[in-house]
């Protein structure tokens, strides 16, 4: 049922085309509708009329196959990490991760919990962190504009990092997920 081939980084293209592509990518960020923690509640005002993220070309998508961005909204439990890995690996390249809240950076108020991760970028590559507990919609928009800037400069390369260091990430993921039953890569 699964494709066994591991992902590869595409060959280097001409820089000028990469720049054009990045311009297009940065102006149409589509987000997977997947809320992992309390911060998902802050995304609701963001994509309704008050803060209206569609004016930046950011839209919510129902499936990872159509999306570019995964938002880790707040604390991440081990059980959710397994689903996050599945969703993240199903997103087509190039893909970006925005992590919200202090819980994703250092555990936040759940630093001593038996079930939540302390440092997120050991398990999946994070492009932009937005601090706060929880960040207000303005802060999330600021995070998005930072991500756009990074994409345009060609610096948002977490997905390449993930492919290059897949063994490192897999080792850390398997260390916390005790009932690991995922394939080598979730195409």
């Amino acid at each position: 049922m699964y494709c066994n081939k591991l992902p590869e980084i595409p060959d280097d293209r001409k820089k000028i085309w990469e720049k054009v592509d990045n311009m297009a990518r940065a102006n149409s960020l589509w987000v997977t509708a997947f809320g992992t923690g309390c911060g998902a509640i802050e995304l609701r005002p963001l994509h309704t009329s008050r803060f209206d993220m569609e004016r930046f070309g950011i839209a919510m998508r129902p499936t990872p196959r159509q999306a570019d961005v995964l938002i880790i909204s707040g604390y991440l439990a081990v059980k959710t990490l397994k689903r996050v890995i599945r969703v993240y690996e199903q997103i087509q390249d190039p893909k970006y991760i925005i992590a919200l809240g202090s819980c994703t950076m250092n555990g936040g108020m759940y630093y001593d919990s038996y079930n939540t991760l302390n440092i997120l970028d050991r398990y999946i590559p994070v492009d932009v962190y937005v601090n706060g507990c929880m960040p207000r919609p303005e802060a999330i928009i600021d995070g998005f504009s930072l991500l756009m800037k990074k994409i345009k400069e060609g610096k948002a390369e977490g997905w390449k990092n993930y492919i290059e260091n897949l063994e490192y990430y897999r080792e850390n993921q398997k260390k916390v997920i005790s009932n690991w039953d995922l394939p080598d890569y979730n195409w």
Binding site: V78, K79, K82, M105, N106, G107, Y111, D112, S113, Y114, N115, T116, L117, N118, I119, R122, K175, V176, I177, S178, N179
Partner: protein
């Protein structure tokens, strides 16, 4: 059918301690041998037809688990609460899964979070919230969550604190400590 459970309490042949009695609220504590009899008679004679919750308090100082069954009558929303103490080591509690199907799920959660055995519950060993948990049950108070968190997820990144006075003194070389105002100057 009598609605108030006082009659059951006065009729029963065993000792019952009344914790709190109020309008539509009756909380009693019994020894663990009489739990099944009391709960079944509350269901049959007083119409307490819903098991709302089974909750546990880990009283590690007394070396007991205090279990509480909350029963409710859907006709008048009156509540009947039964508490009993069980030893913490090899804790085994009778199941009510064959009377109320919700009890199967409550007991599954308690088995996972506290390690309490419910003999006769067919699904108690299934994973409830945690997947593949191999340690001591996490809600027991002798489980050290901080130690487990550091061992499994690594130590948190420390925050960097900067004292503005120290920072200014280091960068500019001088800092006039403000003198607090005296009361007569205010």
């Amino acid at each position: 059918m009598e609605k108030q459970p006082q009659r059951i309490v006065s009729d029963s042949g065993f000792e019952i301690e009344v914790v709190r009695k109020d309008e539509g609220y009756f909380h009693v504590r019994v020894s663990r041998a009489n739990v099944i009899e009391l709960i079944l008679s509350a269901k049959q004679r007083c119409g307490k037809n819903i098991l709302q919750l089974i909750s546990v308090v880990d009283r590690i100082e007394d070396d007991i688990f205090q279990l509480t069954w909350i029963l409710e009558d859907t006709a008048d929303s009156s509540v009947f609460i039964v508490s009993a103490d069980y030893p913490r080591e090899n804790c085994s509690v009778p199941t009510f899964g064959d009377i109320w199907p919700t009890a199967v799920i409550f007991e599954r959660e308690l088995h996972e979070m506290y390690g309490i055995e419910f003999p006769g519950n067919p699904r108690q060993y299934e994973d409830f919230l945690l997947e593949g948990w191999k340690e001591l049950p996490p809600m027991r108070r002798d489980f050290d969550t901080l130690e487990y968190s550091i061992r499994t997820y690594g130590e948190r990144r420390k925050r960097i604190h900067t004292d503005p006075r120290k920072f200014i003194a280091e960068t500019t070389g001088e800092w006039d400590t403000p003198v607090p105002m005296k009361d007569e100057d205010r």
